[in-house]
Structure formats: C-alpha cells, structure tokens
C-alpha cells in the first residue's frame, strides 16, 4: 500500500527511525517499570553503549572502513566532560594541572557533555586529516595506532587525568531517561547524516571507491567529515559514561570496550542503523546472561558457575560465528522498511572478490 497524503510520505521516509525509537522507548519503559535498581543500571550502561555503537555506525557503516580507534574518542569526551562538571575543590586534588579557568569553574552537565563531544570531534578531525589519506586496511591499522597513542598519553598525563589511579568525584547525572534521549538524538543524527549529500557520497565510495572518485566524490574529505561526526557522538557517550560511573579510569577505555562495541555493530549488521540498535540490544542481553552465569546459579543447593571472563570468550565466539555464517549481521545490513508494500526480495550485499 502506498501512502497517499504528504504526511504519509513523510512517515514512510523516516519509518526506520520511528520504529526504532518506539521500540527503544518500549524497552526502556518496560525495564523501568520493574523498578529494580540493578537492572536499571544495566539499562543505562546498555543505552550509553548504544550511543557509542550508533556513533561507530556513522563512520563504519557509511564508509565501510573499520575503526578500532573510536573508544579513544570516547575517552577524550569522557575526560573533557568530567573536567567541566567536577567540583572545583576536588579538581585541585586530582587534576591540578588543568588550566585556571577549568579549575575555578564548573558547567552544567548537559553543556559539558556537548562540549566534551566537540572536543572529541576536534581530535577526530585533526587526526582524521592524516588517517583518512591511507587506503582502507592501512586506515584501520592507523586508527588502532591512534587509539593506543591516546591511551598511553592519558595514562601518563597524570596532572590532567589522574593517570593510573582513578578520577573520582564526578557527579552522577546519567539516568536511564537521559541516556535514552541521547540515543534518540544520536539515531536522528545518524539517520539524517546517512541520507544527506555527504552520507550518500560516502556510501557510494563504500560500494566502489574508484567509481565514486570518478563521479567527483572527494573520498578522503567525506571520510574525514564522517569520522568527525561519529567522534562527536562517541565523545558525548563518553561524557555520559563518566557521569554514570561517577569515576573514570583510563583502563575503562581499552580493548574490551573496543571489542564489545564493535561486535555489537557487526552482529547487528554494520551497514544499517537498525543493525546498530538490534545488535546492541541482543548482545547486551547476552552479556547480562553470561555475567549472571559467571556469578553462578543455584541448582539444587549447589552453585554452578562459569569461570571468570567466560562472558568475553562467549562474546568472541558469537562474533566469529556471525562473521562466518551471517557476515551481514542479524538485519542483513537492511533497515526496517515500510511494511505496507508488496514484498521485494532483499538482495544481499555481496563483496567483490579480489
């Protein structure tokens, strides 16, 4: 059935966005109605991860390049936000190296989070100018090197980041609903970007770089734009994360975080927003279940538990199975489309063999 009114057309245009937002709203509302503090904390963490994964999708999904570096931008955003919101008294103790203005003043967490995202975006823009000149695979390795250099920089930069100990005293402001609204904003951002002139040009280069170049797409430039936008959202997610935990350590933003968020995107389907959301929901559930199993289940009086870090092993095995048996992810890289029309066979995106 084709929509007949202008409104109907508009609804159809943004259909994936509507269905994903409503779905997410239902999930959050149901879990919140359970009124369980621990579950609601897991929910918040999952929603923050969702913002990260949507940010990853903006770059990886549209450009087709894998980035191992985005958790570095999450870290930059997290610290930049915390520098602004912490109590000036605590800042004197933990991060005495901050410039005078930051030491003496605090911002509202929302302003601080947005500025944190911008700081991450600036870092991404500058490093992207260099990284995006590299060809596909070399660029991935470049982002990994970038990530490791941010990590070692923050680990050693103790007058700003408290180095190897943790930065405590960050106000806890991220509730499930705050995180939910950031997810919605990130989804809208990702949706609008991927259908904009810039997003379409980048997607064209993803499918065939040479043809896109021939058609006048400035591939490097488009990649830098997408890298910057995605780092903005990932950086804001970092800010939310700091204000969810109430403390920050550099080690939070290391390989496990990179791995978990990247697998969420891949499991859902790298090239669609729906994939980012679906993958995050599914893997968050799996992680919760495996963590429960690590703690142990009572069965007839005996506590049966999986050994420590089996959640990580399980996650890795799931990712490998998905890559082998369904490389386009759960959503087959497609968005959730307008349901009221004759069914068109979804053709799977096949990669050219080289």
């Amino acid at each position: 059935m084709e929509p007949k009114t202008p409104l109907g057309h508009m609804v159809r245009e943004v259909w994936p966005l509507i269905i994903l937002s409503v779905g997410l709203l239902l999930v959050v509302a149901i879990i919140q109605s359970l009124d369980d503090r621990i579950i609601s904390q897991s929910l918040t963490e999952g929603l923050i991860r969702l913002v990260v994964v949507i940010g990853l999708y903006i770059f990886i999904g549209n450009s087709g390049l894998i980035s191992f570096g985005h958790i570095g931008f999450m870290m930059i955003g997290a610290y930049a936000t915390a520098w602004q919101t912490m109590d000036p008294m605590t800042k004197d103790i933990f991060v005495p190296g901050l410039p005078g203005y930051l030491l003496a003043n605090s911002h509202h967490w929302l302003v601080a989070t947005i500025i944190g995202g911008l700081v991450a975006a600036i870092a991404a823009f500058i490093s992207g100018l260099a990284m995006m000149r590299l060809s596909g695979i070399a660029a991935s390795i470049g982002t990994f090197a970038l990530f490791m250099s941010f990590y070692s920089l923050y680990l050693q930069w103790s007058t700003w980041t408290a180095g190897q100990s943790s930065l405590v005293g960050i106000p806890v402001t991220t509730t499930p609903w705050v995180a939910f609204w950031f997810c919605i904003v990130a989804m809208i951002g990702a949706f609008v970007y991927s259908r904009s002139k810039f997003g379409l040009a980048l997607r064209a280069s993803r499918e065939d770089e040479v043809a896109a170049k021939a058609a006048g797409v400035d591939v490097t430039g488009e990649r830098v734009i997408s890298f910057t936008i995605s780092a903005f959202f990932v950086g804001m997610a970092g800010g939310l994360y700091g204000h969810f935990l109430g403390l920050l350590t550099v080690d939070t933003f290391y390989l496990p975080m990179t791995f978990i968020t990247l697998s969420m995107l891949v499991v859902g389907g790298m090239q669609s927003l729906s994939g980012a959301v679906v993958g995050t929901i599914i893997l968050s559930l799996v992680i919760e279940l495996l963590r429960k199993a690590e703690k142990g289940v009572d069965m007839g009086g005996t506590n049966i538990s999986l050994p420590a870090s089996s959640a990580e092993v399980g996650l890795g095995v799931i990712l490998l199975l998905i890559l082998i048996f369904r490389p386009t992810g759960f959503t087959r890289n497609a968005e959730i489309y307008w349901p009221f029309k004759p069914k068109v066979a979804v053709t799977e995106v096949t990669h050219r063999q080289s």
Partner: protein, 305 residues
C-alpha cells in the same frame, strides 16, 4: 663513539623484534590479505607455554625447564599448532569474505585467546626467569658492553631472515607462496594448491611468532596476557610505514620503528620519556602524510580495479 655504538645496538635489537613480528604479519597479509590481529596473542601464547598452566601467582616452569634443544621445538610446535587451528576454525571459513571481515574475525580471535589465557593463568603478570645469564654483558670493544641477549636477538633475526629469503627464492613452495602473494587467483589457475600455500604461510608466521615470544620473554622476564599486543601494534605500524604487502618493507619498517623508539628513549628529556610512544606515533603519522603508500611500494598494495 662508544655511546653511539651502544645506542646502535639497542636500536638494532629492538628493531629486530619488531621486524620479526612484522614479517609474520606481512606474510599472512601477502597470501591471505589478512591483517592478523591475533598475531600478538600467538606471541603471548608462546611465552605462556613455558610455564605450568595454573592461576597461581608464582610461575612454575614446565617447558621452560627443558634443555634449549627441546624447549625451542616445543614452543615452536605450540604456536604453530595454535596458528593452524586458527586457520582451520576461523581464517578458512572466512576466506571468501572481505578483508575487513577477516580483520574483525582475527580481532575476535585475539580477544578470545586473551580471555582464555586469563581463564587458565589468571590476569596478573607473572615473573618468569629463563636463561637469565644471557642478560650478562659482553664487552664488544673498549668500554662498550652490551647484553649477550642483544647479540643473540640480532643474530637470530639475521639467520631467520636469510633462511626465509632462501626459502622464498630457492624452493618450489617458496616460489608458490610468492606467486600467491602477487596474484592469488592467477596462481591458483596455474595449478598452485591454495590450501597448501596458505597453511604453509600460516605455519611460518607461527614460527616467527614463536621466535619473537622466546626472545621477548627472555628479555623482559615477565608474562602478561597482553604482552603481545604492544609488540603487535609496533609491528603493524612497521608494516604500514614499510608499505603493505611488501616483506622488505616490513623489515625496513620494523627497524625504522625500533630506531625511532630508541632514539627518542635516549634523547628525550627524562620527564618527557613516558610519552615516548606518543612521539613515535606522531612521527609515524608524519611519515604517512608524506608517503601514504609506505616507504617500499609493492604491487600487491595497490588496490586493483
């Protein structure tokens, strides 16, 4: 003069480790178009294989107690078997996938290996001392003393490189492998058996990883479940600045990264020395800005249309 020689030896020995690791990564990239993010974990496994599997804080030597002539083949066997298992379970099913998928696959594999190591051995670093007399100094000339180990590292690397070059140029399988790296599809059409060439490349890459793990663990004396990751990272950087897909480039890149690290280590003021790696990366990014295709251009690195 003596000081310069000392710095040179340091740079050569660190560069040797990076070059060996980069060769292992470069070989697989040539044949499989695989960026092996699990290579660092192969190195880690080789080092952990020296001790008894247990979560105890004190490491007890197992294979590490054997006579070197038995120890070395044992470690090599462990790593090669691990690499072949990885080839059968992960790389082979993913062979027709895009390079990006393969890369994520190897990243997942590395993550699984790391966490299995934590499961078996616990997450804390462990001290392990084997062949500690190798770190004693040898006087090269008047006033220049270097640890015996540095000479061994450089020597082993040279020997392995010569053997690899002879293998690749003088033997039938080596020629097959080079042909496959140049143009895999064409090589198959000319009757080269794909599975055999790939398994051989995986096995050689495993042997190189085992060599690195032994040299590295003797040097540091510490087992840590992420010990291979930082080595792998520098090896990656070496392959990128050397030029992807070129083995000569990997070696050149390895020595270049080693030299830059040691020079920074030596000449940075002491309060800046903790930021050494950051400076290394900054220099690497600068090199890439000037030469995005790497120092040594190979045919395979150009993406064909």
């Amino acid at each position: 003069m003596a000081f310069a020689l000392q710095v040179l030896m340091n740079a050569l020995s660190l560069g040797s480790l990076y070059a060996l690791a980069a060769l292992g990564i470069g070989l697989l990239f040539g044949v499989l178009k695989l960026i092996n993010f699990a290579h660092g974990d192969f190195i880690t496994v080789g080092a952990y294989a020296l001790i008894v599997p247990s979560a105890a804080t004190q490491a007890t030597l197992m294979i590490g107690d054997f006579h070197p002539l038995i120890l070395i083949p044992c470690i090599v066997a462990v790593v090669v078997i691990l690499a072949l298992i990885a080839e059968f379970l992960v790389f082979r099913p993913l062979r027709s996938a895009s390079p990006a998928t393969l890369m994520i696959g190897s990243f997942a594999l590395g993550f699984v290996i790391q966490n299995i190591l934590i499961m078996i051995y616990g997450g804390r670093p462990k001290a392990v001392g084997i062949w500690s007399d190798l770190s004693l100094g040898v006087e090269l000339m008047e006033g220049v003393e270097v640890p015996k180990l540095q000479l061994i590292i450089i020597g082993v690397t040279l020997v392995l490189m010569v053997v690899l070059v002879l293998f690749l140029t003088k033997t039938k399988y080596g020629v097959h492998m080079r042909a496959a790296a140049e143009d895999f599809r064409m090589a198959r059409m000319l009757g080269i058996e794909a599975n055999r060439v790939i398994m051989l490349a995986v096995a050689i890459s495993g042997m190189l990883a085992a060599a690195v793990s032994m040299l590295f663990v003797v040097q540091t004396g510490i087992l840590e479940f992420r010990m291979g990751v930082s080595l792998m990272l520098f090896a990656f950087i070496a392959t990128v600045i050397g030029g992807m897909g070129s083995l000569v480039g990997a070696v050149v890149g390895g020595f270049a990264v080693g030299a830059v690290s040691i020079l920074l280590q030596t000449f940075l003021p002491s309060e800046m020395r903790v930021f050494r790696d950051v400076f290394v990366f900054a220099i690497v990014i600068f090199i890439l800005l000037v030469r995005p295709q790497g120092l040594v251009m190979s045919r395979a690195s150009r993406e064909r249309v």
